[in-house]
Amino acid sequence: MNVGIWKQPQFITGLIILVSLLVASFVYPYFFELPKETKYLYENGNLVDVAPFPPSLVPPFGTDVFGRNLLALIINGAKYTLLIAFGIAMVRVMLGAVLAVIYHHYHDKLRPLFEDIIESTLFIPPAILGYVFLSPLAVKYSQENSGFAEMVATQSLVLILMGVPPLVSVFSKDMAKITDKEHIVSTLSLGAKNRYVYFKHVLPEMASRFWLVIAQQIIQVLILLSHLGVLYIFIGGAATIIDGDLLSAHEVYVSLTGEWAGLIGSNYEAIYHTPHIVLIPLGFFFLAIFSMNLVINGIQNNLKWSDRGRGW
């Protein structure tokens, strides 16, 4: 990506929204206390209301089923949600690019078989695949009481590996197009090694494309996380809380990180009577995805301008 990207209003708008969310999330704990559970609201000693409280009572977004301020939860969870999505997307693309070099260069004969396998897996909803791989892990870690970092790393690794094969296929096709170009033959005619060609010509030429794919992958991961949240798979694991009264006690799973998917998942059953608890975190997912789309459009516009400027 070149400096022209900073002249793209869509890119800047999207980036400002995302960075604002992240900054707010990191700064928030220094100025405010993390929201506490407030299940019952009393007025003059009389019980007035039970959580979740509506936005009219606790502005601007009301509370979750435990009476915690939803805005505070969302701001606090933004850093986990966005950074985990960014990290997974980033590693997916990096790993995909490295494997694509190897795949494109060495495995010409295996390519049709690999492509067929990849194409067939694209029809399986990623949320189902994610659930299949991550639910046994969630059980294992809850039983073994493993560390938080280990849990996040393992879950992220699974989500990374799920997304790498299609990227290897896409990147290797892009590489094939670039290596067929005459300027690559020209470089080889000067005595260049294949490794040099990939690192100095092919990968730099794909750099803008990598940023674009990272942005697309962030959206994919955000969507996947929101789906997994509904299936009670939370990044960082979940705590089980017994909620309700003696007559109707039930288990509620609460995300340990407070990421947005966890908010959706732990409050999902409240969607019928207090839909705002689910719709507001979903709205923030929408905002993050919308911002990423702005970033993507900005990158694409910049790519078009760069192409014209270089006379392609």
Binding site: E182, H183, T187, S189, L190, G191, A192, G309, R310, G311
Partner: protein
Amino acid sequence: MVTMLDVKNLKVMFHSKQAEMVAVDEVSFSVRAGETVALIGESGSGKSVTSQAIMGLLPDNGRIAGGEVSFLNQNLVKLSEKEMRRIRGMKISMIFQDATVSLNPTMKIGKQIVEGLHYHQLFPKKESKGEALRLLSIVGFENPSDIYHQYPGELSGGMKQRALIAMAISCEPQLVIADEPTTALDVTIQKQILDLMDDYKRRTETSILLITHDFGLVSEYADRVLVMYEGKIVEAADVFTLFRNPVHPYTKGLMNSIPRIEDPRVMLQTVRDMAVQEGTFEGRVFAPEVFSKDGVTYHAPSALIEVEKGHFVRFFTNKMEVSRT
């Protein structure tokens, strides 16, 4: 004179899913030190494939099916990829047809020029910029330091071609293969580029294999000419002999298709017109290797025949002889 390049019976084949086809068949020629040899023929005649085979840069579906490519008595066909990389750029380099696509649009000119120097470690990285500026001034840039920092898209076609030449001569190769180096340029720039190459050749005793389809360029810059048709060399001679006495109908066809300024009203002859005329001799259209007429199969001579000193023609003698089987 030392023979730089000696190609003997080179055969190149390409395969598709259905079949394998011969692109270059039994091609033999040599290039001596300080000599410009032109390989001329229409599109698809196998000129560029011959150059790719010499460089060991055939596409994935191509292979050298036979023959030898000797460079200073070293058979390039038998060298490993690693050994070939030491030859490419350093001893044999290539100038491509269209500089617009032969230069990396995302990389500055200066960086591309020093690439060859870096691969072959001829200059320390710190000194390579100075060398690049020197090369840019050799190829006629008056402001090399500006050009060094520019992207290919910022240069005109002629300037890009000069940059490409600077890349090709960066390691001072002994043989430069110029694959239609002026096709994408207008006539005045063509002359500048070829004069530049010719001047460089004379100063450094470099050999040039000039691949072209333009007889005008051949007459002015080449010492010897090889005419290629359908993967075979059909005529080879020094430039004066060939223009004085073209023998093969294909060569005649190519020459007659050039417009003559002194006789503008005459309809231009196509290569096919020539074929029809020559075809009156025993029904041969450029004399294929095997042909049938009136139920009889004829085998034409398959080797180049020396019709006069240093003038070789394939499948054609003055008596139009063929052997009857």
